[in-house]
């Protein structure tokens, strides 16, 4: 288990993770930028505060499970796992290269601590249902199954099949987090395939729904704590995030959903992250 850290330190870690994401993607030459940057605060909160886990013992039988359903956002998970001590940060630069453990979309069997293989959308929540059902059969309900999902992903019917099952079975040790960044590949979610009223939809399926600012680490930690206190329903946290968060020219722009920065863009992005958008003079400069 990692020691809990003060908020300011968590925010610094999240920013370091963003820098690593930019470096990884620029080096790899392909991959998704906006989603991983937007999720850095959520992943920092999960790995450095919320999850019960042990980077030195990824198969620890008492650990909480974290599923990344929208596998294309995996650079943020790789970067966070490296910062948490699962593997050396140097390995991040092998992303998407032949022989790497850091596949373009995550593969469980290649990397200890990667709980499942994902990429094709919509299947994380069903797996969480299976896991939560198994935990209930085994009287292991002190363990939690967290699922990070995309919003565009919720176009998939499989998501709602799982939503019905979790609601029916009252799988209260599932805490799902929707990365509500309002973009998908073809454009804004509400023009590609409207999701709203998303909160009402999840409530109608029998879920307890919380809505937060997903770029506020403290709000993420608090919402998960609140979620764990709900004992009769699965919990959905709709986390409003800024896609491309921290890099001005990427923020809110769906064009950055599925592409990496080139060398120039990466340089600009790193400068901005290091100086927190010009607010401070970066110490690395």
């Amino acid at each position: 288990m990692l020691k809990k850290l003060p908020l300011a330190q968590l925010e610094t870690i999240a920013n370091d993770i963003r820098e690593d994401i930019i470096r990884m993607l620029e080096h790899a030459g392909s991959g998704h930028s906006a989603g991983p940057l937007g999720l850095a605060d959520i992943f920092t909160a999960l790995y450095f505060d919320i999850l019960k886990h042990d980077p030195k013992n990824p198969d620890w039988p008492e650990r909480d499970i974290l599923l990344l359903s929208n596998g294309h956002c995996v650079p943020v998970r790789y970067a966070t796992m490296a910062h948490a001590g699962y593997f050396d940060r140097k390995e991040l630069m092998t992303l998407r290269q032949l022989g790497t453990r850091l596949q373009g979309h995550p593969e469980r069997k290649r990397l200890p601590g990667m709980e499942t293989t994902s990429g094709p959308l919509g299947s994380g929540l069903s797996q969480a249902c299976g896991m939560a059902l198994a935990l209930r059969m085994d009287n292991q309900q002190h363990r939690w199954v967290y699922v990070v999902m995309g919003d565009g992903e919720q176009d998939e019917g499989n998501v709602w099949e799982a939503a019905m099952l979790a609601g029916k079975e009252k799988l209260h040790n599932i805490i799902a987090i929707t990365d509500r960044n309002n973009i998908q590949i073809d454009g804004p979610t509400e023009s590609v395939m409207p999701l709203e009223d998303l909160k009402a939809k999840w409530e109608a399926f029998g879920w307890h729904v919380l809505e937060i600012d997903g770029n506020d680490i403290e709000a993420v930690i608090d919402a998960c704590a609140m979620g764990r206190a709900i004992e009769n329903k699965p919990v959905m946290i709709i986390a409003h995030t800024i896609p491309g968060k921290g890099v001005d020219f990427m923020e809110y722009d769906f064009n950055w959903h599925g592409k990496p920065p080139n060398k120039e863009e990466a340089k600009k992005a790193l400068h901005e992250l290091r100086t927190l958008g010009g607010k401070i003079k970066g110490e690395h400069e």
Binding site: I65, T117, Q127, A128, G130, L133, G157, L165
Partner: protein, 323 residues
Amino acid sequence: MSDMYLVDVSGNLTSEPIRKGFGRGLLEAGKRWDNVVAACADLTDSTQMSLFAEEFPERYIEIGVAEQNLVTTGSGLAAMGKVPFVSSYAAFMPGRCWEQIRTTICLNDRPVKLIGSHAGVSVGPDGATHQMLEDLALMRVLPNMVVLAPCDSVEAEKATLAMALDKRPNYMRLAREATPIITTDKTPFEIGPAYVLTEGADVSLIATGTMTYQALVAAEELKKDGIQAEVVHVPTIKPLDAGTILASVRKTGAVVTAEEGQIVGGLGGAIAELLSEEQPAPIKRIGMRDRFGESGAPDKLLEYFGLDARHIRLAAHSVVDKK
């Protein structure tokens, strides 16, 4: 080995749906091993999961009509150390949820046990939508997947117990209608081997599932024609027992395959691939030839589509003539 099989083709054999053996096997697996669990998509009785569901309600999950969720929930159960059997009609599972099986079970390497019932045209009156003919091909093409098609209910029961102990993803195909029982409690069964049921030097009849009985009947008929047929039953279509199949074909030099599904990608495809690389020989494939089924009585449909002993016999003559 042959005396382990009942090869009486006079019509005096007892018949039972293959799926019944699965139901008994699953119940027994549940009794033997606490980690065996089951889930179904609104077809609990049809797929014969009801025996298990009644005995172990706390280990049984009703998923509703949602096959994508069915198999993917199975992946999650397996991730936590359970041995999940998930069932539906083969037309819907694997028919409806192939990508979830590919990603969350095969690539993810989770030992989920997929049971596709009511496969083949012998489903009968329900028609083409429900007559799954492509399941063997869909499952055989997936890395890590084991593909089984037992020939009768006794073998299906043994196969179910073997699946519960196997550490890989498995798919097993079952049929709706009663099929003659040709194996006994003493007949060996393991995942992997093909079994030589009757020996002969002139032609290899290589069959799986419901068609194995038809191959045995054809072999009897061929004796009258002066042709000694060797019947090889292939309950494990993947991984294929190349050794037994090649040994038979080296001896006979001619092959007929038989299955109640598309000849492309299923058993016929698998045998043709193997032989073309290792032991080319005249071959005819009995099965569906790039078309769908339709409504009708099961026996009428099997005859109409050429999926019976008579057609196997004709095909055997044709390949023997080519030698």
